[in-house]
Each structure stands twice: as structure tokens, then as C-alpha cells.
Amino acid sequence: MPAVSKGDGMRGLAVFISDIRNCKSKEAEIKRINKELANIRSKFKGDKALDGYSKKKYVCKLLFIFLLGHDIDFGHMEAVNLLSSNKYTEKQIGYLFISVLVNSNSELIRLINNAIKNDLASRNPTFMCLALHCIANVGSREMAEAFASEVPRVLVAGDTMDSVKQSAALCLLRLYKTSPDLVPMGEWTSRVVHLLNDQHMGVVTAAVSLITCLCKKNPDDFKTCVSLAVSRLSRIVSSASTDLQDYTYYFVPAPWLSVKLLRLLQCYPPPEDAAVKGRLVECLETILNKAQEPPKSKKVQHSNAKNAILFEAISLIIHYDSEPNLLVRACNQLGQFLQHRETNLRYLALESMCTLASSEFSHEAVKTHIETVINALKTERDVSVRQRAADLLYAMCDRTNAKQIVSEMLSYLETADYSIREEIVLKVAILAEKYAVDYSWYVDTILNLIRIAGDYVSEEVWYRVIQIVINRDDVQGYAAKTVFEALQAPACHENMVKVGGYILGEFGNLIAGDPRSSPLVQFNLLHSKFHLCSVATRALLLSAYIKFINLFPETKATIQDVLRSDSQIRNADVELQQRAVEYLKLSSIASTDVLATVLEEMPPFPERESSILAKLKKKKGPGAGSELDEGKKESGAELNGGVEPTASTAVSPEGWGLMPGSGGGDRTPGFYPSRVGATGNLLVDVFSDSASAAPGLAPATEDNFLRFVCKNNGVLFENQLLQIGVKSEFRQNLGRMYLFYGNKTSVQFQSFTPTVTYPGELQSHILLNIQTKAVDPLVEGGAQVQQVLNIECLSDFTLTPLLNIKFRYGGALQNITLKLPITLNKFFQATEMLSQDFFQRWKQLSQPQQEAQKIFKANHPMDSEVTKAKLLGFGCALLDKVDPNPENYVGAGIIQTKSLQVGCLLRLEPNAQAQMYRLTLRTSREPVSRHLCGLLAEQF
């Protein structure tokens, strides 16, 4: 049994492991483990002091249990004790336990640090190594504080043993990564660089890792490493060095070190010194040559090690991107690998070639392998290899081969693995747009995409095709015809319906001349899909219908019938219902002129130096010669970061069909006056308010907030940059609030993030629940974005949730915090009652804590109409003829929360002579009385 245990076998441990192995079931294993844990715990807690050997044995068992996936929450102290043992075996187990189980914020770090300090001072190299390994593995800040100055000293000291140097190098690397501020650069840095010259290969291996990390932050300080690395590499590659010791692996000299050196060189541009550069090019050529030489061994390890170096060398060649000769040789070498029988090599070759494709020197060379790559896409049995092939096709695509590549990718899409479909869809969409020679090809491609992989076509893709069709009048007729045909399919994807609805709604007239696609045929075709679609699509279709009424007056009666049907006009969905009602009304009231204006064709989308669009536009003009280079460069840019994730590709957020000018500013807020009309009063109210809202910040904010206690709509905030409008409605304990953020400037706001925050008691969300979605982080100049808050009142609350808005305007970060106008009185339900009932309830609420009263001076003119309006706005019912004094106001209502209802009575007694009010509130809950009284008293 424990015969397999080497060295000083711990019998108890071996027995335990055997037991675990013999367990027939998971349950039995857990039982055995629990038994052992209990045993170890009792041993650790026992009175008898354990000797080092027992401690070691138990700690080992814990390690094994941890490996099996059980959390270990004790034994750390015993492990720390082992650190101070003089026996190497015990010390080693202690360190092992700590580096496996202790994370960097443990409280034990101080104790561990002590042990490490002793071991570092011990001058015993094995102990020092253990201590350094431990720092390298745990690497907490506290450790960095304790050892950041000590470790560099150990590393460069002349008398340090090689193995200790190795550990120290990686230990320093860890400290530098976790706490760079604590590792001071200094005199030791130059000596670290010279470790590349160390005669010991192990030391060089460790030092390269450290230098690679350090030189990224301080490239100038470590510049000398380039020439040292080159000469080291050269000695290895040419096998000129005699110091290879046992670092040759299957006849390949020091493969891992070579890889690391080549990687280090990728931190720097090509060496300026001609001699160094010459030597390096020689190295790279030797590496490429060796790939062609007959192998020194038939073992796969030999060729693997050789190829590891080769791939890293190619990475460096690509990184330099300055040696056409080497780039083309690299490409040819990879081309050979593409047909190699080893899958690993094919995979790596595809991956590496992908980066080669972006170099102008090797782009053409890469393109010659297109057939092989397409073949790989079709025949490879491994999805990750196919994925690489797809990536490579994308990277090598330019105008000359775009049609071939796009069609291959499309046909691959039909059988592609689900995991990569969305990516392929995006790639096809980008290529199709980027290299579109004629737009009809582009439209065909995108519709094919939707047909083949509709579920994977993201919104961006179908938005984009609409943008392009709207902006290009030469493709509109073709697009209308094509979507019309596509919609004929018995089952077509909802995205197709969306595109179809949009395009026919705009350009259906272009194909209406053909009796096979007459207006009514078009309408019936669209409407046949209607009932299978989601609400959003149906809403879009309704907009298409109203557009039809304008395009084709003969369809008016049919469409009005549809709009009038119960399933539209009484649809349970508010959005659909509202659209149906408003469109119906619009179509029956408005004159044809008004209709034509309102339902005018969408104006072109603004093309803000979109790299994609700019490309397309240029296509139309002359100068196809320079086109190619351009294309190459761009594909390079893409590899590095997609199609410019900046505003350059931006198109303003514009909706069709719905939305008066969400783009704001210069765009005609066309289409949808019915909505504006319906809210006309509100707008007036809003503007009267915004006039008084001073641009100043903090004080005005509080004023503004108070104004919203008795009303629901208006301008909540305004300064020179930003205007925030509010529209809200509350019913029972629920509410919905629309926030409109208007960018008043002509400059884009970036990182625009409004967040709702909850002070104090609201944090727990047991009183008030607000749900909202993030808004688009970019707000164009002059544009307005909208945010909806869904509010649920769970119990009575007194604090006010806050709205924090952060954004970048120019370079400066703007930070605004406002009170959200959500107060308890919003959940008032007015209650009418007779005088008798009122007084009876008033008396029932006669305990002193149920009443809150305030006597205060009038801040506004004491106008009885205004006062009434405010009380009604506050939410309660005004009861006439209750109070004997007709000057007084009496109100009643119920605060609706999810968990309870609070009845509420109030009385307001104005004293015109003294310009004073007395306000009395009685409710069943003391905090509610006080809170409401305070809120309302501020209003008069």
C-alpha cells in the first residue's frame, strides 16, 4: 500500500489517501473526509503539544482534502508553526500549505512575514528559496512593504547562489506587479539587465520574465536589454554557446529561454544599432532555415520545441513589420503548416497568419493561401480551427476577394457552430459594407444573413442596412423589391419583418407600379406576419401602416379598419394601443398636406465621418487605385481594435416612425405631432417652469425638488449644459417616471451615466423599489435621451432617492446629484367622505403621536385657487363643507404602499391677516404624519 510513497513516507497520510481511493461513492468519500477533519481538528485543539512530524502529517492531509475541493478553514496556525521548524521537510510543507491556501489578505501575513524574514537571513539557500517562493506566490501588499527593498539586494548580490537568484527574480516580479510603488528603481536595475549575461541559464530564464515586466513600465531604463538579449539569443540559436548544460531539449537548445528572449524583444522597436540588428536578423533567418532542415530527431518533441521558437520568431517579425523579406518567408513557412497533418500546427499557423495579413508587406502573400483557408473552413473537424480559419479569411479580405470570402462565410454560416455564429454574422456584415462595390450586393448579403441566421443578427446589423438604404437613393428600389420577395417566404425571421416593414413603409411606392406588388398586396403581406411578431415589431409595423396611408391613399380604408379593430385599439399593450389610437386619429383628422408633411420620407442619416460610410462614399468617386492600400491599412486597424470604437462610426440615434426628433437640434422632429399635441399643456407648464429655473446649481435644485411635491411634470434641473425634464404618473403604490436628458450644447457628452442612489434607510430596498435601465453613454450635441424609472412603494418612507448624473463634457467630468421627485405623497389615493365621517375618523386619530402640526409664515401670496391646486396636487381629496370655517381647507386620502395603507386627514387654516398658516395632519403612523406635514408646509 504505502509502498508508492517516497522518502519519509507518512504512514497515516498514505492510509488516509488509500481510504479515499477505496470509497465507493461520493457520499462515502465526504463521510471519510469529515471524519478526518474532525480528527485533525481535535488533534490541533488537544492539550498535548504536537510534534513537528504530526503537524506536518495533518497539514498534508488538509492539503489533500483541499485538493479534493473542500474548503479548509483551520490549520493555518499549525502551518505557520511549521515555518519555524528547522527541518526542511516540515518547513517545506508549511510553506506549501500557505502558498496554496492563504490568500493575500489573510491576517496571518504578519506571522508569516516573520518566518520569511528569519529564513531570508539564514544564509541557507534552500530555506531562502522556500521563503522567496512563498512571497512570489502569496505576494500581498504587506509582504511587499516588508521585503521590497530586501529582495532586489538578494537578487544582485555577488555571492547569492544561482537558485536563490532565480527565486528572487520571480519574487521581485510578483512584488512589482502587486505594488509597483513599493519597488524603487535604482542602482540594482542595471545589474538586473546584466543578469541576461549570467552564465547560468536558469538565472537568465528567470531574469527574462522579470525584465519583460519591468521594461514595459520603464522602457528607457532597460533599453540595454535589447542588445544583451540579442547576443544571448544568437549564442543559443547558433549553438555557439558551450554553456547550454542540460538545457537542450530533444536536440533543441534552450527552447523555452529562446521563446522568452524573443518575447522580450517584442517589447521594443527594431534595434537601431545596425550591428545588433544585423545579428538579430541573422538569428531570425537561422530559425526560419532550421524549419526547412531535416529534423535531428523523429520525436515529436523535437519538432514541437523547434516550432515553439519558430512561432515566437514569427511574432517578432510581425511585431517589427519592417523586413519584407522575413515577412514573406514567415508567410511561406506558415503556408506549409496550413497543410500539415498535425492539427496543432494548422491551428497555430492560421492564428499567426491572421496577424501577418495585416502587414502591408505580407498581405498579398497571405492572400495566395485563400483556397487552403476556405478549405479549412469547410473541412476541419475542430471548431477552434474553423474559427481561426474564419478569422483569417476576415483578416485577408480586401476588395479583390471580398465577394468570394463573403459568399464562403455565408455558406459556412448555414452549418456553423452556434457558438461562433454571431461573430461570423458581424464579420460578414462588416466586410459586406466595407467592400461593397454596389449596394444591391450589400443589401442581398444582409438579407441573406437574416435569412440564414436571423437569431444571430444583432440590432446593429439591421439598423445599419436601413441607414444605408435610406441614405442611398440608388438602392432603395432594389431594396424594396428584395425585401418584398424575402417576405414571401412562409416563415421568415422577425428581423426580416422589421427590415421589410421599415423599407416598404418608406419605399414601398417604388415597387407599387407592379401589380404583383401593389400597395394592398404589400400591406397584406406585411399584415400576414403581424400576429406572429413581438410587441416591438408590431409597433414598428403599425408605423409602417400609417406611412402606407400617406404613400397609398387607396389603402386608407383597409388600414383604418385594421387600426380600428379591437385587437389594436384595445390592445392590452399600452404602446400598441396608443399607436393604434393616435394613428387612427391622425389618419382621419389630418389633411393630406399635413399627413404628407408628418409622414414624409425619413431624411438621410447624418454621416459623421464614419470610417465605414466614408469608405462607401469614396467608392463612388474616382481614384480606385489608391483604394487598395487604403483597404489594407484599414483591415490592419481592425485587427487591432475593431472598426474604430469611437464616435467616428457613429450615426445619431434616430428612430423611424416614432419619434419626433429624438435627434433634436437640426433634425425636423417630424412624424408624430399627435403626441406633441396631446401633451401640449404639459409643455407649456414645463416651459414656464424652466424659465424660472436658474442655471445655478445647488440651491435651485432643492427649490426645484420642492416644486415637484405637488406636481408630476416639468423641468427638474437645468444648467448651461444639461436640461432634465420629468414626466411621471403614479397609481396606487406604483409609479412610472420618464426622465429626459437634453444635451444643450453642440458637443457630445461622453460616459453619460445617470444612476439612482439610495440614502440611508432606502438602501435596503424594503421601502421603495426603483427599476431602471442604463442609458446610452453617448449623448450627441443637441440630442435628448430618455430614461424610464419604474417605481414601487413597498412601505412608508421619508428619505428621498437621489439621481446622480456623471458625464464627460469636453475633457471635464461633470457630476450632478439631484433629489428625485419621488415622495410619499405621490402614492396618495384621494378619498371623498362626508363631514360626519371625517370628524369621526379625526377623533379616532387623537393620540398625540398621530398628529403633526406646523404653524408657519406664508412664502407665497395667499391665493385660495393656488392653495387648492397645490393640495390637490399633493394628492388628497379636498372636502367641502366639512370645516365650519369656509376659509379652511380639509383633505383626506390614503397612502398606498405594498405592505400597508395609511389613512391620512389634514386641515389647513390660513390666517390672511397674519400671513400665517396652521397645518395639522393626522395619520395612523407617526412618521408619516410628521413627514407629510413637513413636506406640505414648504409649499405655501
Binding site: 485538493l67 520571480l170 536558469g202 520574465s209 542540460d246 436601413i466 457613429a650 434616430e654 428612430g655
Partner: protein, 174 residues
């Protein structure tokens, strides 16, 4: 005065960026994230993490990793893209050795590192078996720690890797 108009939710909200995201991993941040030995039954025989991972997540990760490896055939390549990193694996009898690495680490070099590690084990245990690894977990750890430290390859010379262990064994004998 700035006008604001109440609007419907626009259904075609054009995204401000139409871009295809390609993961740009920081160049040169090459390192090994973890080193696992798992048998075909999914039992972990060795695990070493070079980045902190919660124990619950470890178990899940180990299960998923082995599932991934088991589902692959010989014709498939030894590199798996997994979440935001790559797995490099080799199979020895019923035992899988799986190494998690960054995007930029050299796959082939790690692939051979695994073999080098196995050869060191073979040398020390004279024909290593799964049982050797189970019963000598501490020693396997020492070997691995000599080869990989803090996610970086630190030693590849077999004799030097084994040197501290031989010292240990000599001490145990005496």
C-alpha cells in the same frame, strides 16, 4: 430656450458605435494561470493556481475543464479557447494535464513544458503513475514549484529541478 419634446421609445436606436469587438489582450502579458492534473473520472490530482480563485469556483472550473478535454478527439488540436483564456492540454494514459494560459503565451512552448514536467516526474518516480502523484502530492508540488513560479517558467533543466528533492530525500534517509 431649449425645447424638449416628449417622445415614444424610438425603436430604431442607432448604436453610436457599430463595431465588431475583437479582444485585444495586452501584449506580452504572458503567463500561466493554473496548472491542473485531472484523471478521466474528473478527480483532481494536482491543482496549482497562479491567480487567486475561490474554492467553489475552482471545483467548477476543474469540472468544466476536464469536460472540455474529454469531449475532444485526437484529431482536434490541443488548445482550447475557454472564456478569456486558453487551455493547453495533454493526455497521459488516464491522466490529463491542463494548463490555463493567457492569449499571448506561446502555446507550443507550454505544450512542451507539460511534457518536460512529465519527464521530470518519470525520472524521479521511475515511471510515474497516477498513484505516485496522489501519494506524493508534496513532492509533485516541489517539482512544479521549481519549474513554474508565479506563473512564469523558471527552470527547465531536469537535474536542477530535482536537486532540492534529492536533498530532501537524503535528509529523510539519514
Amino acid at each position: 430656450m431649449y425645447l424638449f419634446v416628449l417622445v415614444y421609445f424610438p425603436e430604431v436606436q442607432f448604436p453610436l458605435t457599430f463595431c465588431y469587438k475583437e479582444t485585444i489582450s495586452e501584449r506580452n502579458r504572458n503567463m500561466i494561470k493554473f496548472f491542473l492534473m485531472v484523471n478521466k473520472q474528473g478527480q483532481t490530482r494536482l491543482s496549482r493556481y497562479y491567480e487567486h480563485v475561490e474554492i467553489q469556483k475552482r471545483t467548477m472550473l476543474e469540472t468544466e475543464v476536464i469536460k472540455n478535454c474529454l469531449s475532444r478527439s485526437k484529431e482536434q488540436c490541443s488548445f482550447i479557447e475557454y472564456k478569456d483564456f486558453k487551455l493547453v492540454y495533454r493526455q497521459y494514459a488516464a491522466l490529463f494535464i491542463v494548463v490555463g494560459i493567457n492569449e499571448t503565451e506561446n502555446e507550443m512552448a507550454v505544450y512542451e513544458l507539460i511534457h518536460n514536467f512529465v519527464e521530470v516526474l518519470d525520472k524521479y518516480f521511475s515511471r510515474v503513475s497516477e498513484l505516485d502523484i496522489m501519494f506524493n502530492l508534496d513532492r509533485v508540488h516541489i517539482i512544479l514549484d521549481e519549474m513554474v513560479l508565479n506563473g512564469c517558467i523558471v527552470e527547465t533543466n531536469k537535474n536542477r529541478i530535482l536537486a532540492p528533492l534529492l536533498v530532501l530525500d537524503k535528509m529523510a534517509e539519514s
